[in-house]
Subunit: 218 residues, 2 copies
DNA sequence: AATTATTTTTAGATTTGTCTAAATTTATTT
DNA sequence: AAATAAATTTAGACAAATCTAAAAATAATT
């Protein structure tokens, strides 16, 4: 079925919110969408008739099978475009979100098939997030953030959760990027900060907040 | 100023209609936009307050200086995306129009600047139409279609007006593409058809309708 | 110049996505 | 368990872009 860009944005937001909980509430989604709860209720009724969400009034909601498939397709488009913007047009991570937010609503599926091929069928976007394939299959990678990674073991930075310019700035400073190999030397109880060691660089201490956002594979 | 995709579509259509006349009428634009004249009137009032069109009721309308600049920017985006779709993603001419129609409304100007660079600052789109530069400057090329081209002089196909699949089909058959060198041997008064000669291929006769759509530089 | 035809505009309605304010339901406290 | 608080929904309104039907202006014809 066909969805308006607005509907797609709701579907995508529900998808992301559902990732860390099993039911989504009206207020939560309204905060995410920067609209009023009443608007969310209206949209939910619409999405329910389109069989995109399971929804009973006052009881929260989740995506249906079809809704999930739709969401994965939008996420796929978003991440492929981000990959394009960074790896072909030379943008930085922190610059591409808004553009991908628009590009993800371009309808042609043939375009996406060809873009995917043109980019070499990438499995991960520039932030390290997995790109669903054309069937909606998504590669799940076991990753741990720097606050829980085992000590003294070399790990590879795989993704960064917070994708703001402020974060990128800091990571550049520390010379941390996707693919960087590093070790966690120790953790400090006082503020939760973490000492890391990259290659031949001197060990440095990064804040808990940064550590929580950097995810690695072992 | 900022415009909705719908506004942009109106602006672009006025631009194209104005190309061959000096004032545009409500009915003409409504036919182009596939809406009712009443809708055009509504939009014109809106565009007038935004100082995009000169418009007096019952008297037709034209783009203002600002409107023209806006139109050129939309055309620029449309044609750059078409170039991308054909030359990077491998689409054929006749497949790209709808996609470019969506892509042209992506707002980021930085994206277009980078796309332009990535594509090598092309001057013409896959149909041979000129791509306005970032200032809106458009390279005008003297071209003549095959019904008026001087006889027996070698000319280079530069653009094709009708961009339908049906046309592409026929041109492929005749081995005519952008860049093809050819001569017009003679014209037939009876039906306006034209005999052309390409390279070592045997001379062939193309219909008046095709001849009118193929434009060459001498 | 008067009549008829065509074009254009106005008036009022509709759909989508939003809002506010009030009502209802559920959750939390006392 | 009542009372209060918080979350959610309903009701009614609004802006954007469209429509239909009717009115007004312009153009074409007799």
């Amino acid at each position: 079925m066909n969805h308006t860009p607005t509907e797609e944005n709701y579907i995508k937001s529900i998808y992301h919110l559902q990732y860390t909980r099993d039911k989504v509430s009206t207020t939560l989604l309204s905060a995410e969408m920067k609209t009023r709860p009443a608007s969310v209720t209206d949209m939910l009724k619409k999405l329910r008739t389109k069989r995109i969400v399971h929804y009973q009034r006052y009881k929260g909601f989740t995506l249906t099978e079809a809704g999930n498939k739709t969401a994965l397709n939008i996420v796929r488009k978003h991440r492929l475009w981000e990959y394009f913007l960074v790896n072909k047009l030379g943008f930085e991570w922190d610059e591409v979100h808004m553009m991908a937010e628009e590009l993800e609503h371009i309808t042609s599926s043939e375009l996406i098939t060809r873009l995917d091929k043109f980019l070499g069928n990438p499995a991960f976007d520039p932030h390290g997030d997995p790109i669903p394939d054309h069937k909606g299959k998504i590669r799940v990678i076991k990753q741990k953030n720097l606050t829980v990674l085992p000590l003294k073991k070399t790990a590879t930075v795989h993704s960064v959760k917070n994708q703001s310019s402020a974060m990128l700035d800091l990571l550049n400073q520390f010379k941390i990027g996707i693919g960087t190999k590093l070790k966690v030397n120790k953790r400090f109880d006082f503020d939760g900060s973490v000492e890391i060691k990259i290659d031949k660089l001197p060990a440095t201490i990064i804040s808990k907040l940064v550590a929580q956002n950097v995810f690695c594979t072992i």
